[in-house]
């Protein structure tokens, strides 16, 4: 904001008046002084990036009607700043400490000997007025005139001239024997001295980091908002695969960083809010108002996570929220309205009807009235309204940030909606002569989600997708989903196709209207941190966060709901769960320049985390249903209804330390160590990390302005899931009180029970950071290898082993890959263009499987339910292990020339073996291409996102083929059959064979390449700045607009669930959506 004002005021014609200044400030920072002087004079300050506005000036600064010159001199005497009045500007220069004495002498110096003159232009040769030209180390300086000309006398030929201009890279030139020196300034690239917030909320100079991290600014997240802001990260973070959740508004995405490291654990990274690790995964982070986010820092590697403990093994997303700023009052209002349209709906045939009017199978005769319009008709246009307002203000003692956001979303499915309110209050205060800083915040979110899409087969989608194209949709749609039943004296479902055939085929409107579900969440996060400066560079910090989540769910299935879903009088379920999470830590933080060359920083800390999860659940069973139709209450639960209760407590304590030694700002050495005690693992475990960063000297010769190489090694342990390592596991009870023993046990063989160990990931990474083309371009490359040992696997136990499933430390998995970000500032005059490309490639390999089992393969999931694919970890047959996400299924039999083998009817023969490798779910390569164009007040940004490799098995397609509803089956019939080895075979027979009549499909025929390139995000904005106190920005925004390339007949960015083991399998999954809308932002 200041900078913006500054540029505007450069053009104000000068008015010189003798100025008198009065103010009285104790320990002010520079910003306060600037605003005091600016408010009392017509002068504006100009300064370069080396001036730190928030740095404190010690002591009392008291002036009573003092002349400006005197005031500046006084400040200059007491600080390292010198001031010079140039026109209507006051330029600030920072003296190097040693030069202090000299520069004081030089105030108003008369020793200038050499005159240098020239013209300052931008990179296109256009003259730049009002550029500050300053002799380094002095307050001798001036501004260029309207034609960019300057003329300055300097002390000697050794003098250095510093040209600075807002928005431009500061340029330094040695005078030498030039008397005419024209300077072309370059558009400012990102400042090198970027500060990043790393582990435990400690801020560090980006230069000193020994591992890869990526920062995403708050504006990136709020540019084109999604009700769940995590979805907006897709394509922006190198090395992260973000899969949108499948349940409509309010569902949480899956985030996978640098590949699957753990097969049974979830892949969620750890979320850290203002330095404090939070409970839960992506669904809880969705509760945060994106407008509150100052920035996100993404730590992908193990080194970065070493200080957060075992929960950070999948990477860390650090969320830093906004706080009030001293002396800055600001009100920000933002509003976004977007529409969601379902895309990628199945392609249906419209030429063939049913053979039996009671079945939806559409292998009947040709019809004339066929229509697939019901698909479009069923899905609503989703609507999202996100409004938020925030206030921030602060004085020197206390700063406050307050915000409120409201999200209203209506899903693409009828009756599915979400309301969310976020309230945030954050207070920061400095006490005891600024030695003690207190920072407290309270965050409350309430979220109400109604009729969220249920999983695959139980959702409304089987009903919509497999509606026979010859039938009249309007008979059952809208309010016709129910009809009056004179016998039951109530409305019942109107759907002739109710039949449990793998899926409970119901009227989709009935599902959305009468299979109701409510989800209500209240989430409080309150946290406080205190930081006490013991001495300069040594701080003691304590933090405590209390996280309270209360979830309530209720489901109401009305009578006449399909009988595998609910009983004769309907079904009812109510449940409540609570999470009580308390985190505290105590840190001793050292950050000190030992001498000019050596910087030492370190942290020593302890943390304690205690989580209590409790829940209670009551629900009817299908068998006993309810006492009365549609009376939904616990009173109505009949007979042996379902009841369960749970109370789980976990505790984790850690002691940790880290140290960074920096030498001459060139070499940085990082060492960390952490010991963890956790209630889910018997023994405590320790894991260290070490890293080195080296800023390469003399890279200018290579055309670089800066280059750094870094390398690190880290180990991260992962504590066991709750209850897994319990040798005497407790038992649950069935509805009638019989004890049901646990089905999953720690591995045993005879009497030999395996003592499970925590997983340990050892990772190496090396990286290169460079800036080139005069700092306009930047490159950040990382190569990594992470090997996870003692993989905790839940595998299907071999027949006869004595358990259904085993927990086992089953093997070694390695993820190797590269990731990088290249950005460039390609601005041309008023047109500013900042392209940036991020990319990643990850290769996942099984390196070893436990030899405790002789088995040839470990069955992770055989997907009996889906009857299509299985997921195994296999031992090598020809020397090569597979990778996680390998999918196995049936294939067609082929001869050695690749021709299909057929039976006597000409139908292709299906492999007897159900376990043939058909592909892998994970992408090989991801790339995101981000672009921002600005022209004056207008801006255009877009994100192109590409995913290469990997695939999805889609059961929806199988089912539609089996039912004769897919367009393929229609075309086959139009053509008189399907060509198999040059012979036409009957279409119905062919597809019944290929789909195994819906029960045992040839999976390889339904494995679709997930490669796609899409326009993920588009925002076109305009900012009105001449409205006085308000900056107003309007943007047209769009998400997921179209595909440049798509191989599958649907959007492959769908997945049956966001769990690790069902990756790459889709089954009546919600269609993805294209969103577009308008956003408005006002800043006061």
């Amino acid at each position: 904001m200041y900078k913006l004002l500054l540029t505007i005021f450069f053009y104000v014609p000068f008015i010189i008046n003798p100025q008198e200044i009065s103010f009285n400030e104790n320990n002010p920072n520079l910003e306060v002084i600037i605003s005091e002087i600016e408010s009392q004079t017509d002068l504006k300050f100009a300064y370069g990036d080396d001036v730190n506005l928030t740095s404190k000036l010690t002591g009392r600064y008291s002036f009573e009607k003092e002349e400006l010159d005197k005031v500046l001199e006084e400040i200059s005497n007491r600080t390292t700043y010198t001031f010079s009045i140039l026109g209507s500007n006051i330029a600030i220069a920072v003296d190097p400490p040693k030069e202090k004495a000299k520069s004081l002498i030089n105030i108003g110096s008369k020793f200038q000997q050499v005159t240098v003159e020239g013209i300052v232009t931008d990179s296109n040769g256009i003259p730049l007025p009002s550029v500050t030209v300053q002799e380094e180390g002095t307050n001798n300086g001036m501004l260029t005139d309207f034609d960019g000309n300057y003329s300055i006398e300097v002390r000697s030929e050794e003098s250095v001239l510093v040209f600075s201009y807002i928005g431009m890279e500061t340029t330094r030139r040695v005078v030498g024997d030039n008397t005419i020196m024209s300077v072309q300034m370059e558009e400012g690239a990102q400042a090198l001295d970027e500060v990043v917030v790393t582990a435990l909320g400690i801020t560090r100079d980006a230069k000193s980091l020994t591992y890869a991290t990526q920062k995403v600014g708050g504006e990136e997240i709020t540019k084109a908002k999604d009700p769940n802001f995590l979805n907006t990260l897709a394509g922006k973070v190198a090395g992260a695969v973000i899969t949108k959740g499948n349940f409509g508004p309010g569902s949480s995405p899956r985030i996978l960083m640098r590949g699957n490291k753990s097969l049974t654990g979830n892949s969620d990274p750890l979320f850290v809010l203002n330095g404090v690790p939070m409970y839960g995964g992506t669904d809880l982070l969705a509760n945060i108002n994106p407008e509150d986010i100052e920035s996100l820092q993404i730590l992908k590697g193990a080194s970065a996570a070493a200080l957060y403990g075992s929960e950070a093994a999948n990477g860390v997303v650090i969320v830093n929220t906004k706080k009030g700023t001293e002396g800055v009052a600001r009100i920000e209002f933002s509003s976004q309205f977007t529409l969601d349209k379902a895309i990628g709906l199945p392609e249906l045939q419209t030429n063939y009807g049913q053979a039996d009017p009671t079945l939806n199978d559409s292998w009947g005769s040709e019809i004339a009235n066929g229509s697939d319009e019901h698909l479009e008709e069923f899905f609503d246009l989703g609507q999202n309204y996100i409004n938020s307002v925030s206030f921030s203000n602060g004085n020197e003692q206390t700063q406050v940030y307050l915000s409120y956001a409201n999200t209203q979303a209506k899903g693409i499915l009828p009756e599915n909606d979400l309301t969310q309110n976020n309230y945030t209050l954050r207070l920061t205060t400095q006490l005891l002569n600024n030695k003690l800083t207190l920072d407290g915040s309270v965050n409350y979110t309430d979220k109400r989600v109604y009729n969220q899409n249920s999983a695959g087969g139980y959702s409304a989608l089987p009903g919509v997708y497999s509606f026979p194209v010859g039938d009249d949709w309007s008979q059952y749609s809208g309010q016709n989903f129910e009809v009056w039943d004179p016998v039951r004296q109530m409305n019942v479902q109107n759907w002739p196709y109710i039949r449990n055939e793998t899926f409970p085929n119901q009227n989709p409107y009935w599902v959305q209207n009468k299979n109701q579900s409510d989800f209500l969440r209240d989430h409080f996060i309150s946290s406080i941190s205190a930081n006490y400066k013991i001495i300069d560079g040594l701080n003691l910090q304590g933090r405590a966060t209390y996280d309270l989540i209360n979830d309530k769910r209720e489901s109401r299935d009305y009578a006449s709901t399909q009988s595998t879903v609910a009983g004769i009088n309907g079904g009812y379920g109510t449940s409540e769960s609570n999470v009580d999470n308390f985190y505290s830590d105590l840190l001793l933080i050292l950050d000190k320049d030992l001498n000019e060359d050596i910087l030492l920083s370190g942290t020593l800390g302890f943390s304690h985390k205690e989580t209590k999860i409790s829940g209670i659940n009551l629900s009817s069973t299908r068998e006993t249903s309810l006492t009365f139709p549609n009376y939904f209450s616990v009173y109505a639960l009949n007979g042996l209804f379902n009841k369960s209760e749970s109370l789980q407590e976990r505790m984790t304590q850690s002691a940790f330390g880290s140290a960074t030694v920096g030498f001459k700002d060139k070499i940085f050495l990082d060492v960390t160590g952490r010991n963890e005690w956790t209630s889910t693992v018997k023994e405590s475990f320790f894991y260290p990390s070490v890293g080195l960063a080296y800023v390469l000297p003399a890279v200018e010769a290579l055309g670089l302005t800066f280059a750094k190489i870094r390398g690190s090694y880290a180990e991260v342990g992962r504590s066991l899931p709750f209850g897994v390592a319990n040798w005497t596991p407790p038992y649950s009870l069935d509805n009638s009180g019989n004890i049901i023993p646990r089905g999953v046990l720690p591995f045993f063989e005879g009497a030999d029970t395996l003592r499970l160990k925590p997983e340990l990931t050892k990772s190496y990474e090396v990286g290169l950071e460079a800036r080139f083309l005069k700092g306009k371009g930047s490159l950040n490359l990382t190569a990594y290898s992470a090997t996870s040992r003692d993989q905790l696997l839940q595998i299907q136990a071999p027949a006869g082993a004595g358990a259904q499933n085993f927990w086992i430390n089953g093997g070694v998995i390695r993820n190797r890959g590269i990731e990088g970000v290249i950005s460039y500032d390609a601005s041309l005059g008023d047109i500013k263009w900042k392209p940036s490309v991020n990319f990643s490639a990850n290769q996942n390999r099984i390196i070893e499987l436990s030899d405790r089992l002789d088995a040839d393969r470990f069955v992770i999931s055989s997907f009996n339910q889906s009857r299509v694919v299985a997921s195994y970890l296999t031992r090598p047959h020809d020397g090569e292990y597979g990778s996680f996400g390998d999918l196995y299924g049936r294939v067609y039999q082929k001869d050695e020339n690749g021709n299909l083998l057929t039976n006597d009817e000409g139908l292709p023969l299906v492999s007897e073996d159900t376990d043939n490798f058909i592909g892998n779910a994970n992408p090989d390569f991801l790339v995101g291409f981000n672009n921002t164009f600005t022209y004056k007040n207008a801006s255009l940004s877009f994100l192109i996102d590409g995913r290469f490799g990997g695939g999805v098995v889609n059961r929806t397609e199988i089912w539609l083929d089996y039912k004769g509803l897919s367009r393929r089956t229609g075309e086959a019939r139009d053509n008189g059959g399907v060509l198999v080895n040059g012979q036409l075979v009957d279409a119905k027979k062919f597809y019944l064979n290929q789909t195994g009549a819906g029960a045992s499909a040839v999976a390889s025929e339904y494995f679709y390449d997930a490669t796609n390139i899409r326009l993920r995000e588009l925002a076109l904005g305009y900012t009105l700045t001449d409205l006085g106190d308000v900056d107003l920005n309007f943007s047209l925004v769009g998400r997921n607009l179209f595909f440049f390339y798509l191989n599958a007949p649907f959007d492959p960015e769908i997945s049956a669930s966001t769990s690790t083991s069902t990756e790459g399998i889709a089954s009546f999954t919600m269609p993805t959506t294209r969103s577009f809308g308008l956003s408005m932002r006002a800043i006061f």
Binding site: D356, T358, R499, E501, T564, F582, S584, D585, F606, H608, E610, E623, L640, E645, M651, A655, W677, T678, S679, F722, G723, N726, T728, P729, P730, Y731, S732, L733, D734, N735, S736, N738, I739, P741, G743, E749, G750, Q796, A797, P798, A799, G800, A801, G802, Q804, L853, D854, A855, D856, F858, N864, Q865, Y872, T914, Y962, L992, G996, A997, A999, S1000
Partner: protein, 538 residues
């Protein structure tokens, strides 16, 4: 006053809570870690579940697994598992039930196109609920600590084990639970072990019964979910009846052992009408009620309809509900096995099976004991009576158990024979009677006729326990059933019947090696539905 007290208490509670947090927070420094980790002990389990420690009280640890085992031989509590474990295979193959609509275009288990995901439950249910629990008891040394309760677990294990062998053939049994690469037993080995196990279990229970006749009431009554009230004397009879059943199964392949085992079982005492059938109450409704009436996924088989109609059997009205077919309302009408569906393929109007007000799942019918002895006597074994007497007594016991009268008239009927089947929707399914066997015992009849008579009546009595009925059908070929109308399995010639169920992936995927060995050693190299089991010889 009251309110004040309450408030005070609440505040105190709150204080305690805060204090605890504070204390925990304060014990951060390293030197206190030892005390903190102590606090972690015991946290690694859900506090609302019941722990082994809590189960030690009242010596519950010895028997708590037994109810689940009883209820898990056939999954009586989980309707969909019950359906997949039994209804969608054996209940159809035995001629008791039929699928009333063409699932998967009529290519499913019923038409011999095997549906792997259904068949997985045939293995999963008993292995998870019976065999694995037996392993748990064994691993905890309950065979010596609670020999009587352990012996009961062995009886349940044998029930589960023999059913599995009779379905799949070779299964891992003798080494079950001893390792992770358990090889499969041949059917013969498994059967030998069944006899051994039952013999030992009976010996242990007898010993307990002799030592203290009331021990069972204290130790087992609370865990016995059957109608037997925990009486060891009855369980001894159950075990012996099972032994007799298994002996009969091997009567063709190993007549000598069959006779020896059968005679031993009978001399030790088998079930009589006094004890009744081995049934387990589900606590709510019979799973078949849900499957037939609300899911519409099973109907009465045409075989039951035509057989019982022909015999004018009063049990028919208790076995099935009248149809709602237009023009045939009130009449019982079954569906043909593996029926061909016509243009209208929903047979929901056909007769539902009737288990309303019968909330118990039957595992072994008491009348079976009599029919087994009848067959034994027919084979010339010492069964303590004549084939004729046991045959007639078996029918009487069955009539009794079903609460119907007229047994004597029924027994003396020597004319009635099964009738032809007429499908009102699709004549393709129509069929002439398969047999002309009558009810009345005819001493002059041939062995085969007598055997058919015994097995046919046993089949009627055992309804709806299709697993045993299917096994006996394969062994004896009785009752005579119609082959499936539609057959989608190339391994089974048209007109033939399914011989076994191929291993589902829930067995094969994790036990590749062991399955391959079993198939090559014991199944002629092919895991097919057409391979007869070891005892299935003609």
């Amino acid at each position: 006053m009251q309110i004040k007290n309450f408030k005070l208490k609440k505040m105190k509670k709150l204080k305690n809570k805060i204090n605890k947090k504070l204390v925990v927070g304060l014990c951060l420094p390293l030197f206190l870690f030892s005390s903190c980790t102590k606090e972690m002990e015991g946290l690694n389990q859900d506090q609302k579940l019941i722990s082994s420690k809590q189960l030690e009280a009242d010596a519950n640890e010895g028997g708590f697994a037994l109810p689940g085992m009883q209820l898990g031989i056939i999954d009586a509590l989980t309707t969909w598992r019950f359906e997949m474990q039994q209804v969608l295979n054996a209940d159809n193959y035995s001629g008791y039930m039929s699928l009333p609509s063409p699932f998967y275009d009529n290519r499913n288990n019923v038409t011999y196109a095997m549906v792997d995901s259904w068949n997985g439950e045939i293995w999963n249910v008993p292995s998870e609920k019976v065999l694995n629990q037996w392993v748990m008891m064994k691993r905890q040394g309950f065979d010596t600590k609670y020999p009587d309760l352990y012996s009961l677990s062995v009886i349940f294990k044998t029930f589960a084990g023999h059913r599995l062998v009779d379905i799949f053939g070779p299964i891992p049994y003798s080494d079950y639970g001893t390792g992770t690469d358990v090889s499969f037993d041949s059917e013969q080995e498994a059967y030998s072990l069944f006899f051994e196990e039952l013999g030992e279990a009976v010996a242990v229970l007898k010993e307990f019964e002799a030592d203290d006749p009331t021990a069972d009431q204290i130790r087992y009554a609370k865990f016995d979910k059957s109608l037997y009230g925990g009486d060891y004397a009855t369980w001894i009879k159950v075990a012996n009846t099972l032994r007799l059943r298994l002996a009969m199964r091997i009567s063709d392949i190993d007549p000598a052992k069959a006779q020896a085992e059968a005679e031993a079982a009978v001399s030790e005492g088998v079930l009589t009408g006094n004890e009744g059938s081995f049934e387990v109450p589900t606590g709510s409704i019979h799973p078949l009620v849900t499957i037939t009436s609300s899911w519409n996924e099973t109907r009465l088989n045409a075989a039951v309809e035509t057989m019982l109609k022909g015999y004018n059997d009063p049990r028919l009205a208790t076995y099935a509900l009248p149809s709602t077919i237009e023009g045939l309302e009130g009449e019982i009408k079954g569906v043909r096995s593996g029926a061909a569906f016509g243009p209208v393929s929903t047979y929901n109007d056909y007769s539902q099976v009737n288990f309303i007000d019968k909330p118990s799942v039957k595992i072994m019918d008491v009348a079976e004991s009599y029919f087994l002895r009848a067959e034994g006597a027919l084979r010339g074994w010492d069964m303590g009576g004549s084939a004729n007497d046991f045959y007639e007594e078996g029918i009487r016991v069955s009539f009794n158990a079903n609460g119907v009268g007229g047994a004597e008239d029924y027994l003396n009927n020597n004319t009635a024979t099964p009738i032809a089947y007429v499908d009102p929707l699709n004549s393709e399914n129509n069929a002439d009677p398969m047999t002309s066997i009558t009810i009345q015992w005819e001493e002059a009849d041939t062995f085969e006729q007598k055997l058919e008579r015994i097995i046919t009546q046993k089949w009627i009595a055992m309804y709806p326990e299709g697993q045993e009925a299917w096994s006996e059908f394969r062994r004896t070929g009785y009752p005579q059933l119609w082959p499936v109308v539609e057959n989608f399995n190339d391994d089974i010639p048209d007109g033939e019947f399914i011989k076994r169920i191929p291993y589902p992936t829930s067995i094969t995927s994790a036990s590749v090696q062991a399955v391959q060995e079993a198939v090559s050693q014991y199944l002629d190299g092919e895991d097919s539905a057409g391979t007869p089991l070891w005892w299935d010889v003609d």
